[in-house]
């Protein structure tokens, strides 16, 4: 059973479209991180959210942490081909020895 469920698993869109990907759990997390991984590279941190209800913006990317700290979303406005990659969420589980738990990722392809 995956503690962090990411959806959708795959997403293929046209340049200029908007999209939202989700990271959900039935458990509470003390913080959630979003990473992007490009082919042949390791994941790179985009953002960390720590407060329930928190919203962070990074240019065209908007990250939200759910009020109950069980879920998070990533919204991309006007997607560009450079946004293509695997988006991974990872959380510090409040009751699991503070280990980092990873979702399986959303593979995004933005077509020109």
């Amino acid at each position: 059973t995956q503690l962090l469920e990411q959806s959708p698993q795959f997403l293929s869109i046209q340049e200029g479209e908007n999209l939202t990907v989700y990271c959900n759990s039935s458990s509470v997390f003390s913080s959630l991180q979003w990473y992007r991984q490009e082919p042949g590279e390791g994941p790179v941190l985009l953002v960390t959210v720590v407060t329930g209800g928190e919203v962070k913006k990074l240019k065209r990317l908007t990250f939200q942490f759910g009020d109950a700290r069980k879920d998070s979303s990533l919204h991309i406005t006007a997607a560009q081909p450079g946004d293509t990659g695997l988006y991974l969420c990872a959380g510090i589980h409040a009751g699991n020895n503070r280990k980092l738990i990873w979702g399986l990722g959303t593979s995004l392809a933005v077509n020109p």
Binding site: Q2, G40, G42, I92, R98, W102, L104, G105
Partner: protein, 113 residues
């Protein structure tokens, strides 16, 4: 800035062979991790270390060993390679485990034939 450096980048092993994947970081991070990443399976934690001289098992430790003799280095040893160990291996480090960023190496693509 070097960050986390992994070597080699690619390797092909025959069944039963042994090898060591090297990982070094120059950020003075206490925590270091080894993950394997298989298609559709996400990142699985193999071993981790919270400081020099301390290592602990992750989710999938069987078939692997690690050591942490210095803060900088965290090598991963495969003693008897099996086809099931074909994967991409990532080393990562972080200052601690409280809301801090994990820095990843570029990965080692290992094929066991």
């Amino acid at each position: 800035n070097a960050g986390v450096t992994q070597t080699p980048k690619f390797r092909i092993l025959k069944i039963g062979q042994s090898m060591t994947l090297q990982c070094t970081q120059d950020m003075n991070h206490n925590y270091m991790y080894w993950y394997r990443q298989d298609p559709g399976m996400g990142l699985k934690l193999i071993y981790y270390s919270v400081g020099a001289g301390i290592t602990d098992k992750g989710e999938v430790p069987n078939g692997y060993n690690v050591s942490r003799s210095t803060t900088e280095d965290f090598p991963l040893r495969l003693e008897l390679a099996a086809p099931s160990q074909t994967s991409v291996y990532f080393c990562a480090s972080s200052y601690d485990n409280v809301n801090t960023e994990a820095f990843f190496g570029q990965g080692t693509r290992l094929t066991v034939v």
